[in-house]
Each structure stands twice: as C-alpha cells, then as structure tokens.
C-alpha cells in the first residue's frame, strides 16, 4: 500500500480516482456545491461535456455506456442539479446500465438543516440506484469511488450515486487508491451451476419446439457471439426483447424478430406454441408477456440470468441458472448435443411468410416506416438511438440491426427525451460511427436544448424527427381504447424544427414528400454537422401489429392502413 506523501483536496483526489478508473469523458453541469470539483476539472485532462440540463448529462452518460460497454459518468450540483439527474438515473436503473453519478451536497455540518440547495439525494435515489453513498470524510472517497465503479459495472449492472458534501471536496487527505474492493455483502455469481447446465441441455434435447428469448443481458454481458454459437448448435429460433435487439443478427435465418406487444406475429406465435422457452438475460416484462397466465402455455422455461431475484419473479421457471450469460451460454453450448428442429423451423418460416411486418406505401405522404427503411439503406451500420413512442417501435421493427450496441433505447422506463442526449453520449463514445436519434416530435421537445451542446462540442448526430403532429403512441391508444377522444395529444401549431435547429447553429432540413426522404438523409450525412431533419409524416399511422394490454400475445391485431 503506497500512500502519497503530499496532501491533496478531496476534489483533486476525486479526479485522480477517475483517472484510475480510466474515465476520460464526463457529462455534467456546474453549481455552487461542486465549485471546488469544477475547479479541478478545469485543471484536469478530463473531457467534460456541458449539457444544457442535468437530465441530459445522465442520459448522455447512459448512451455512452450503452454504445461502449464502459461505465458512464455524470456530475451535477446539489439540490436541483441532483434532482434533475433522477429521470436519467431511473432510466439507467431499469435497463441495468453501468453509470456513476456524482452529486455535490451542502457541507456536512449543514446537512439536515434545509440549507440552500439541499436535497436528500441518497434518499431520493434509494429505489433507483444499485447502491449509493453519502461521503462524510474525504479519506473514504478513494475507497467509495473504487467500490462505486466496481458495483456499477459488475453483476447485474446499474447506476451508483455518490453524494459529496462541499467541505469534503475541500478537505485535505493523503491520497491512496485501493487496488481491491472488499464488500462482503456483494458477491455476484458468474459461473452457472453445472448440474443446472446439464439439466437445461436435457430439456433442450427432449424438446420439439424450443424458442430462445434473448434480452438486454446478452448485450450487457457481451455474449452475442456465444448466443449465436449456441443458437446455431441447437438450431432453434431466436426472438429478442426491445433492449435485446442487436444481440442477434437480423438477417440470420433463425432470427424471428422482437416479441411482445409490438413484436412480430411469428415471434409471438412461436412463443405461444413452444414447448421450451430458453430465456437469457431477459426478465419477462409485462410488455413481453402480455397476460402472464396465458404466456407460453405449453412451455417449460429455462431462465438464465445474473440476478437471482429475477428467477421466478414473474413466471414459474423449470430450470433456473444464475450467472453470467456469456459463461453459461458457452458451457451450455459445450454440453448440449447438436439438435435438429426441422419441422418446427419450417412451421415458423411459414408464419414468417404469411404474417410479415408490413405497411401500406404511399406516393404522396411520407410513411414513418419508409423513413426508417431509407435511413437503414443509407447507413446500415449506424448507431440508432430512439426516443419513446411510435417512432421507437418503427425503428425497432424496420431497421435491420446486425451488431450489439447499435440500437440504444429506453426500454424499462420508456423515457421521452432520452434519445437525443443519449445519442450525444453514444457519438462521443463511438466517434467513428454515424449516430441517428430517431425522434418523435413530442419527445424531441423534451430535451431539444441539447442542440446547444451538440453545436458547442461539435457532436454531429442526426436527429430524424418523425413528425406526426401527435403524441402518436398515446393517440393510438386513444383511438383504439378511448373511442377516438384525442385528449391532449395533438401537437398541431408545433414548432418549426428547421428554424429551431438553425437558431442553435445546427443544420435544419425538412422532407414533406416521399421522394425527398433519401436526399435529405444523404445531405445530413454529408454535412458532418449536428442536424435536425423534420420528416412530415402520415399523422394517423399506427404501430402494427399490436397486442392490447393484458391480452395473450397471440391475440395480436393488424393495424396498418
């Protein structure tokens, strides 16, 4: 254990800790309680991205983490700065994204006094963080930071918040960075139980109609290659969840698309007729299962997950295997014999032909699905980030994702306003990639101020606004389930997105006819600048197919018009 002989402030020590964790980029917003920290950021080599709202700092750190697999870092001041992070932290928590959020706090001797800009952020974030800390002595800071990064990035990943009072950042300490963490209450399981692996392979060999159901855990565990090897060895169809998209190549003959509420008909039919579901890194969310009592009625379930608490939480499981998806898939592939589910795959292929995803093309009005297809054609290896709503579902359905970490979306929390800042984070993490934010006209307005960030830091992402003049997804539900009473969902008299972009110094483009779609996409790609494209699309288009809430997932409606 080497200690430095020179003293340094808590703020300086924090920067040293970030270096030790190989952090080079942080997203944040300054304020009174973090003044000493920002003074050290000024002197440091860290690349600090100044978002225009703390919510965006959290989403950008999240997008950075999802694009790179590294832990994203965001910083905010006490009180309102910290509370502004909350939605971003909750978003990361729901999708198990590694993030460290650092907040300033009023000085220790004022805590509890309702001091200026005091908020109990550790209390507020208790249910939406994997763990959090209030640092009361700067000597604890190095250990806490070490632990925070460890907890955020191991086991089931997730956000960790560190609240640091102002006097702690000013306190002088001898810096010593621990090289190990010692947490007796935190020991994630990585290696699956081999007995269970054996049992699972027996179930697979005995089954006739297996389906692999892969979730975001595959991406978090970097297990896409292992998933492919496993799937090819047993020759079973693969469906993914929304956050699992990209974990298995779209053009693979065994891929049957997303399942659930807006999944493909053939994925849902396959699940319902299956006799064995192999769930990997997925958690049987209600958007996936629909009416849970009617979900996969004939199937046994193998559930592979790193979080023991997910096992049998929503659905009873026959063979649980707790551990890392990568490790377990590897050993399962080794254990299981080669299988042939020929007749089953034939049946599914029949469904695929019979019930493809489809929409009616139109020569005069831009169909939103067409925009997605054109973006796909123009740039098939782009990173696609989305906001939340119909456009998000169309992006998931019509873009052909081939690689993990190329589809970035808020699945669990469904956060409008997530996409644009997350796209900024993704672009910073992967500068060599083209990054699109597929946005709704509603969602984009929740964080459009980040155009200033994109321009200031020259982060050339392309925001494709699927402008239907509606909070479209809510409108769709009102149309179907509330007798077309469109309560507060019409965004007519909306902003001029081209002028908005220009006001910030970004490029603004618009397409109003189908034949203008591709040219504006190409123009945006050529520009190399932060760009907003306003696609004026069919207003009344619905996402299809659709399983109504709490119906069985094979009770799936066609809604294209």
């Amino acid at each position: 254990m080497k200690e430095s002989t020179e003293k340094m402030t808590g703020a300086r020590a924090l920067i040293e800790c970030l270096y030790k964790e190989n952090v080079d980029t942080i997203f944040g917003y300054p304020g009174g309680a973090v003044l000493p920290l920002y003074d050290e950021i000024y002197k440091s080599d860290l690349n600090h991205i100044l978002t225009r709202h703390e919510q965006s700092a959290a989403h950008a750190a999240d997008g950075y983490a999802r694009a790179t697999g590294k832990t994203g870092v965001c910083v905010a001041t006490s009180g309102p700065g910290a509370t502004n992070l909350v939605t971003g932290i909750a978003t990361a928590y729901m999708d198990s994204i590694p993030m460290v959020a650092i907040t300033g706090q009023v000085p220790t001797f004022m805590i509890g006094n309702d001091a200026f800009q005091e908020a109990n952020i550790t209390g507020i974030t208790l249910p939406i963080t994997k763990h959090n800390y209030l640092v009361q002595d700067a000597n604890d800071l190095p250990r806490v930071i070490k632990e925070a990064f460890h907890i955020a990035s191991t086991g089931r990943k997730g956000p960790v918040l560190i609240d640091i009072p102002k006097d702690v950042t000013a306190q002088e300490i001898y810096f010593h960075y621990p090289d190990k963490v010692e947490l007796r209450g935190y020991k994630p399981t990585y290696k699956g139980n081999l007995q269970q692996v054996k049992k699972a392979s027996e179930y697979i060999e005995r089954s006739k109609k297996p389906v692999i159901y892969a979730g975001g855990g595959i991406i978090n565990s970097n297990a896409s290659d292992e998933l492919k090897e496993f799937a090819e060895k047993i020759n079973a169809p693969v469906t993914t969840t929304l956050t699992g998209i990209g974990s298995f190549p779209d053009d693979h003959p065994q891929y049957i698309g997303m399942l659930g509420m807006h999944g493909t008909k053939y994925a849902n039919y396959a699940i319902q007729e299956s006799d064995l579901i192999i769930a990997v890194g997925a958690r049987f969310d209600d958007r996936v299962t629909g009416k849970i009592a009617a979900f996969a009625p004939n199937a046994d379930i193998i559930h592979i997950d790193i979080d023991p608490a997910e096992i049998s939480k929503n659905i009873k499981v026959s063979v649980p295997i707790v551990g890392d998806a990568k490790w377990i898939l590897k050993s399962l592939t080794k254990q299981v014999s080669t299988c042939d589910f020929g007749p089953w795959l034939q049946k599914i292929n029949q469904w695929k032909k019979q019930y493809p995803l489809k929409y009616f093309e139109n020569e005069d009005v831009i169909k939103p699905q067409y925009v997605i297809e054109q973006i796909n054609e123009a740039c098939d290896d782009a990173i696609i980030v989305t906001e939340v709503g119909q456009h998000q579902m169309w992006a998931s359905q019509y873009f052909k994702f081939k690689e993990p970490r190329t589809f970035i979306t808020s699945g669990g929390l469904g956060t409008m306003g997530y996409g644009f800042p997350a796209a900024l984070g993704a672009k910073i993490g992967k500068p060599e990639k083209v990054v699109f934010d597929i946005a709704g006209d509603g969602s984009f307005q929740m964080n459009s101020q980040e155009l200033a960030t994109a321009v200031q830091h020259n982060i050339p992402v392309i925001i494709a606004v699927i402008n239907n003049c509606y909070l479209g997804m809510v409108r769709q539900w009102q149309e179907l389930f509330f007798e077309q009473r469109y309560s507060c969902t019409c965004l007519e008299e909306s902003v001029d997105f081209v002028k908005l972009a220009e006001a910030y110094g970004a490029l603004g483009l618009r397409a109003e006819k189908p034949d203008e779609v591709r040219p504006v996409i190409d123009k945006a790609l050529e520009s190399g600048r932060p760009t907003v494209i306003d696609f004026i699309v069919e207003k009344s288009e619905n996402v299809s197919p659709m399983v109504p809430a709490s119906a069985a997932i094979n009770e799936i409606l066609d809604l294209e018009r």
Partner: protein, 161 residues
C-alpha cells in the same frame, strides 16, 4: 404464514432505510423488526418477521440479498431456533387487584419492574404466544401502556446425532 428472517447488515449510515424502503417499495409487510449490533461492532443484526407465502418469502430474501449492505439472510425455522420477545406492560392497579396481578406475574415468570399508587409495570420475556397470553389476562385490569421489542431469534446449537 409468518417467517422470521435474521439479516446481517453492515452497521452503516442509512442501512435501516435501505431495508425498510425495500419492504415498502415492493409491497411486503413487516410484522416486526428489531435491530442491534452483534459481537462484531461493524455488523448489525436485524430480526424481521414477515408474513407471506413461499413466493413472497423467496422474493423478500432475494431482494434483501441484492442490497450491497446486506451480508447474509437466514430464514429461521421456528422448530430449530430460539425466539424471544420482551414486553413492558403498565397495568392499572389498586390494593384490591394487586395480589391477583402479582399471581399472574408469578405464573408467567414475569417481573415487576415498577410499582406506583395506581399502576404497576411488568416485564415479560418469552415467545410471542406467551406474551399474547399474559396480555390477555392483564387486559381486564386495564392496560395503560404497552411496548414490545419485536421478535429476536437465533438458531439452536448443533445437536449431536
């Protein structure tokens, strides 16, 4: 069905809020909760009584285990563990009723810890049933105040077979 969980936790700032918050957030009911430090001052032990079926118990246990500050969770089976609870009961008395109350105290091996002109305070230790029983018997005299610690429990020593 009731279960007593022994939960070893880091003796740290905010740990009670984490545990209590988990119960309320996930909709589990706590019947009682007792906390104190163990022989290791860095570790506290919580004795939590919850009721629920096997599903609830499994979920509670797993969710508790997910908390970083929780070191170990044990479900104490009533058969193989020693359970105790302590209660203080202040009963209304006068010269006429006092002997009768003293008799009850005696039978239950409880103790009188305070006597005043119009009341006396009784300390009773035992399992839940025993405390419920004495409470029942004292109630007709008038209970002015009562406090129970909540159950604490521990597994029995290993028996030779």
């Amino acid at each position: 069905m009731k279960h007593t969980l022994a939960v070893l936790v880091e003796n740290k700032y905010g740990v009670l809020a984490r545990v209590a918050g988990l119960f309320s957030r996930r909709g589990y009911n706590i019947d009682s909760l007792a906390v104190g430090i163990t022989d290791d001052p860095d570790i506290s032990r919580m004795s939590i009584v919850v009721h629920g079926d096997d599903y609830v118990l499994e979920q509670v246990t797993k969710q508790l285990n997910k908390l970083v500050d929780v070191i170990r969770v044990t479900d104490l089976d009533a058969k193989d563990s020693v359970e105790r609870e302590l209660a203080l009961i202040k009963v209304t008395t006068d010269t006429k009723t006092r002997p009768e109350i003293m008799q009850i105290v005696d039978v239950f091996r409880a103790r009188t810890v305070d006597v005043a002109a119009k009341s006396m305070t009784i300390e009773i230790t035992g399992n839940e049933d025993k405390i419920n029983a004495i409470e029942q018997l004292l109630r007709p005299f008038g209970i002015k105040e009562m406090v129970r610690t909540g159950k604490i429990a521990m597994t029995r020593g290993i028996k030779k077979s």
